[in-house]
């Protein structure tokens, strides 16, 4: 059985803290990894390609934003087992449309994250 891990990718440490608190009780068998931007996440995944990831991805981040991460990971997406959910403060319709048009994205979740939302994801 694959090791299952949740990646929280956001540059906001408070948000990460809150989200970790929300996610932990809901996914007790998952490991949780917090990453500050897309690049960190990309490198982490590349280093650990065998794991199964549930990813909560912010869009607006320094170094490598969410869109850039999606583009980069799509180049070798076939190698990884990824379930990506965009978790963003943006309610801009253009962001939502963009997310929906990306095949790797399972859902577009506006912040803040709640347990109810996670139940839907499960």
């Amino acid at each position: 059985m694959k090791v299952q891990e949740i990646l929280l990718i956001d540059d906001d440490p408070i948000i990460n803290f809150i989200n970790k608190k929300i996610v932990e009780p809901e996914f007790p068998h998952y490991g949780i990894m917090v990453l500050e931007n897309g690049l960190q996440a990309l490198e982490y995944i590349q280093k650990n390609p065998q794991k199964r990831y549930l990813i909560f991805l912010d869009i607006n981040m320094p170094v490598m934003n969410g869109w850039e991460f999606l583009k980069a990971i799509s180049l070798d997406s076939g190698q990884y087992d990824l379930s990506i959910h965009i978790l963003t403060s943006s309610i801009d319709e253009s962001d939502k449309v963009k997310a929906q048009s990306n095949k790797q994205v399972l859902s577009y979740l506006p912040k803040p994250l709640t347990k109810d939302v996670l139940k839907v994801i499960k």
Binding site: D12, I15, I18, N19, K21, S89, D92, K111, T114
Partner: protein
């Protein structure tokens, strides 16, 4: 049983019973049998008991009963006791017997009775009767034989025989059918019938009946057997039906065979009873048929003899054949009477004389030889020889000898002779004519051929010299053409008359023959004062001259003169003979003369000449013919002329040749010939048929060049017509001395008239002018037209169908050598379409011009032929360009296009113009009217092309879009700002907000998640400040947009 009344009863009884003859006793009163003996019982077949219940009537045939009663009556009344008489009795089985009755009257048991002995005499009676019949039949046979043998008319005799036979053997009909010798049919010849039977002799159905119609009785007859039948018992057949219809009950048919030939049959019908013919009857009939066969045979032989005798007689008496019997030396034994009719010498005069006494001396040796031959063969034919007739004339006869020296009664040589004088004479003439014709007809010159012919004439025994004179070309004299002195050395005649080679009409012997125009004979030449060559004749010992005119269709061609040493009297036969011969030479001599003349003409003619045989082969041709076709002589001579004719003309040529041969003398005809190089030569032929020689003399004229010129002319004329039609160009001409012009076809077409409905008189032409243009017709053309110069005028006409058309006339005045105008001519062209087009064009140009002036845009147009671009004045003030200039990259407009765009604009325009199918071009570009200033232009155009895709005209419009372009830029900037605001709102504002919301959720739902309330409150407060900063930034940005918008508006 007999009961004797006497004492000797037992004895009597025994005698009565044992008597070998039937005996009985009967009651004279009742006729009843009183007693019968055993023999009576045995003989008559009745039992004793039956007898005793019968009367004597019962043993008689009914028809004899009256006779019996009479006899009994006599018996009763008779005084003597014994009676003997002959009766017929009937036995129990019905058979009749002839009996001799002897009776005695007795008293039997008290009754008056008669004792009777009956002796059966039937056998004897029958035998006697038969002998009687046979006797009669023998008599009949004798009678018929006599009849047949004695009579000359055997058919009549046969009828008599039939009558006798028929009555004798009691049949109803006897007939004789005779078979046709040539076909399997038979016809009734003789018929005899009993009075009550209807004769069939005249029934046409019984004539020429096919033998196969009666298969039933023909089969035995053909095997020489008779056919006998009882009709009723015949198997069902048509024969049976026919016989039954005629109520025939019995039939007998006997064949008649003569010399193994089935010649006919004799038939006998019995309509009363069904019968079988007895042996005697057969005997009689066989005798009859055999006699008849003999008689017929004899008769036929007699007839044959009679006819052949008659034939022979008629041959001998009426024929023209002479029949004689001579002995081995030629002495006459018998001469048929025809000699009188044929030779005028009666038969008796020959008897005792020898045949050679009558035969022409010259022929005797030949005949003697032939007579010698007859001893070795049965037949000898002797070719015609001469035999004298009663008048001493020599007659030509031909004889067939047959050797009958060993034939009894003849014992001589039978000579069958026919007179062939006419045939011999004719043959001699024909032979000589053939020789002469052949000689004259040979290839060669006229004189050499005639010479050859004359040499045949001098071979005649009494002719020594012959010569031929022909009428000269100018018909003024007769010229000596040829002569022959034979082999007998008569050349002296010509040696002594060298200078005499021509005579005028009426002079000399030839001239006399010409003027007299008939066969002439001059005798005693050496003393004849009219004969110019008398000296020469004397020296050559020529005594007589026979002059024979030569004619051809009544034309006197010349004459043949034959000289002889013999006197007039000795030459009569020769004169007739030569006269006949010469009459037939006209045609061939005429032909030879023509040929000679023709040959002279033939080879110098530049036109092709040839002589064609009726078989189609070229017999002769001249050089021109050979040069024309290019083949060698051999090829030309060995090939039918049709081989050189173009295949499309062969059939017609053959038909024409055939028609000529059959006398069609109609005019010449034209055919194409193919030369050895394959060139076509057109030749017009005409010819003369010389039927006697089976040739056609044909002359041709080569019309190839003439024809080509004609064809070219025709083609040119056709092209001209076509061109005129296409160009709608008519032509007209009028001589000044005429009121009427001549119009070409197309001229009429333009005016929409037909030549039938419109005569182009001046008045009529004036009417065709449009009323507004009629003034053009008022001037005298000679005044304002310069001779030889073409002047054009365009005007309207009213056509035949009422249309108005524009025409252009090109008119020219023609003058004679003195400069006086005599003719005016011109072309007329329909220019209606052009005019209409021009009008439309000028209209649309006008409209275009107006549109260019009225438009805000810069309308432009390229004239591709001139490569000139014309522009409207729309932006002339602002951009300062030329309104018309050359289309180039450097011109006043293109040079103002921004360097960034110029190249591309020019290239795309050129590309669009050069692309055959593109009709539209558009481009946006910047224009720099001056340093630093920029204007934006939207430019587009439509391209009009001809059928080849070549641009004809392009019309475009350039629109200054600078202001709208600037507005668009402004909107873009504002949009960008707004987008930034939206982004800020979404990301930047909502980031701290969503954090606050998350912290509240943490505090409320997750119980701080391990953070204290204060810690959470601080984080919320930080987030709130952050939010506040963001809102400030947004407000600043919004203000900025507001300011820019306000500025733009004031701008």
């Amino acid at each position: 049983m007999l009961s004797p009344t006497s004492d000797h009863s037992n004895y009597d009884q025994t005698i009565f019973d044992l008597t070998p003859f039937p005996m009985w006793i009967y009651d004279l009163k009742t006729f009843r049998f009183l007693a019968v003996n055993k023999e009576a019982i045995r003989h008559y077949g009745y039992s004793e008991k039956e007898f005793l219940h019968m009367t004597i009537k019962d043993i008689r045939p009914k028809e004899d009963i009256p006779k019996l009663e009479k006899a009994v009556k006599e018996a009763i009344s008779r005084t003597e006791s014994y009676k003997e008489s002959l009766f017929r009795h009937q036995k129990r089985d019905g058979s009749i017997i002839y009996v001799k009755i002897k009776s005695n009257l007795i008293n039997y048991r008290g009754k008056k009775a008669d004792i009777v002995t009956a002796i059966d005499l039937s056998e004897r009676y029958e035998r006697e009767k038969k002998i009687e019949t046979q006797k009669e039949y023998l008599k009949v046979i004798s009678l018929t034989t006599q009849l047949l043998l004695k009579s000359k008319e055997w058919l009549q005799a046969l009828y008599s025989c039939f009558k006798i036979v028929g009555e004798t053997i009691d049949v109803d009909r006897i007939y004789y059918f005779q078979n046709d010798p040539l076909q399997p049919t038979t016809s009734q010849k003789i018929e005899w019938t009993q009075g009550h039977i209807e004769p069939q002799i005249d029934n046409p159905e019984l004539q020429n009946i096919s033998l196969s119609q009666f298969p039933l009785f023909m089969e035995p007859l053909k095997k020489q057997m008779h056919f006998e039948a009882i009709v009723e018992k015949l198997p069902p057949s048509s024969t049976k039906n026919i016989l039954k219809e005629q109520q025939i009950k019995s039939i007998l048919v006997l064949p008649l065979w003569i010399n193994d030939n089935f010649c006919g049959f004799i038939g006998l019908d019995d309509c009363k009873k069904e019968r079988r013919f007895s042996e005697d009857e057969f005997q009689l009939l066989y005798s009859l048929t055999s006699n008849l066969g003999h008689i017929i045979k004899q008769h036929e032989a007699y007839q044959e003899l009679y006819y052949s005798e008659a034939r022979f007689k008629s041959l001998i008496e009426n024929g023209k054949d002479l029949i004689a019997i001579v002995d081995g030396k030629g002495d006459y034994q018998y001469v048929a009477p025809t000699s009188k009719a044929v030779l005028g010498i009666s038969p008796e005069e020959f008897i005792g004389k020898n045949a050679f006494d009558f035969i022409y001396e010259e022929d005797v040796p030949r005949l003697k030889q032939k007579l010698g031959e007859i001893f070795e063969s049965r037949h000898v034919s002797i070719e015609p020889y001469r035999f004298t007739d009663a008048n001493g004339n020599w007659r030509w006869i031909r004889t067939e000898l047959t050797n009958h020296l060993n034939t009894p009664l003849i014992e001589g040589i039978v000579a069958n002779t026919q007179e062939v004088t006419t045939e011999v004479k004719k043959r001699r003439i024909d032979d000589l004519v053939a020789v002469l014709t052949s000689a004259i007809g040979q290839p060669g010159t006229l004189s050499s051929c005639l010479n050859q012919a004359l040499s045949s004439l001098v071979k005649l025994s009494k002719i020594s010299v012959s010569e031929i004179w022909l009428v000269s070309q100018d018909a003024q004299r007769l010229d000596l053409i040829s002569s022959d002195c034979g082999v007998k050395g008569f050349s002296r005649f010509y040696q002594n008359s060298k200078d005499i080679t021509s005579f005028e009409k009426g002079t000399g012997f030839p001239g006399h023959i010409w003027s007299e125009n008939k066969t002439m004979l001059w005798k005693d030449l050496s003393n004849n004062e009219f004969f110019h060559r008398s000296e020469a004749a004397r020296s050559a010992h020529l005594n007589t001259a026979i002059g024979l005119p030569i004619h051809y269709n009544n034309e006197f061609l010349g004459c043949i003169i034959c000289f002889s040493q013999f006197t007039e009297d000795e030459l009569s036969e020769e004169v007739n003979f030569l006269s006949e011969v010469t009459q037939q030479l006209g045609a061939v001599i005429k032909q030879k003369i023509t040929e000679e003349e023709y040959r002279n003409f033939f080879n110098i003619s530049p036109d092709p000449h040839c002589i064609i045989g009726f078989d189609g082969y070229i017999k002769k041709h001249n050089k021109a013919f050979q040069i024309l076709l290019g083949y060698d002589n051999k090829k030309l001579r060995s090939t039918p002329i049709f081989h050189f004719i173009h295949e499309d003309d062969v059939q017609e040529s053959q038909e024409r040749l055939k028609a000529s041969i059959h006398g069609d003398t109609s005019n010449s005809f034209e055919a194409r010939f193919v030369t050895n190089k394959g060139d076509i030569k057109w030749l017009i032929w005409s010819g003369t048929v010389i039927r006697e020689s089976k040739i056609i003399i044909a002359v041709a004229k080569d019309t190839t060049e003439q024809r080509l010129a004609k064809e070219e002319l025709q083609a040119a004329y056709k092209r001209l017509k076509t061109a005129q039609k296409i160009a709608k160009l008519g032509y007209w001409v009028r001589n000044f001395d005429s009121e009427v012009s001549i119009w070409s076809e197309e001229a009429y077409h333009i005016y929409e008239y037909t030549p039938q409905e419109f005569t182009p008189t001046m008045a009529n032409i004036t009417k065709t002018f449009h009323p507004d243009d009629r003034y053009l017709m008022e001037d005298d053309p000679t005044e304002h037209l310069e001779p030889g110069k073409v002047q054009s005028v365009e005007h309207r006409i009213l056509t035949g169908t009422g249309k108005v058309k524009w025409v252009k006339q090109e008119i020219r005045l023609l003058t004679d050598e003195h400069g006086t105008p005599f003719r005016i001519e011109g072309t007329v062209q329909d220019i209606t379409e052009r005019k209409e087009y021009e009008e439309q064009l000028s209209l649309s140009n006008e409209r275009f011009k107006l549109a260019m002036q009225a438009s805000n845009e810069m309308i432009w147009e390229i004239d591709h032929q001139k490569q000139i671009i014309t522009r409207g004045t729309g932006y002339e003030q602002t951009f300062n360009y030329d309104t018309s200039e050359t289309l180039s990259k450097e011109n006043s407009w293109f040079s103002k296009i921004h360097p960034d765009d110029r190249e591309e604009v020019w290239n795309t325009l050129q590309e669009a113009l050069n692309h055959k199918n593109k009709t539209f071009w558009t481009s946006e570009y910047k224009v720099q009217p001056s340093e630093g200033a920029i204007a934006y232009f939207m430019d587009r155009c439509y391209i009009l092309r001809d059928e080849n895709g070549k641009p004809v005209r392009s019309v475009g419009s350039a629109l200054d879009v600078t202001s709208s372009r600037q507005q668009l830029e402004q909107i873009k900037i504002q949009n960008k700002n707004l987008r930034e605001i939206a982004w800020l709102q979404s990301h930047v504002i909502r980031a701290p907000l969503s954090r606050i919301m998350g912290l509240i959720y943490l505090a409320n739902e997750l119980d701080g998640g391990g953070k204290s309330k204060d810690e959470i409150m601080k984080m919320i407060a930080d987030s709130a400040h952050e939010l506040d900063d963001v809102i400030h930034k947004i407000t600043d940005k919004t203000n900025l947009i507001k300011d820019e918008g306000a500025r733009n508006i004031t701008d």
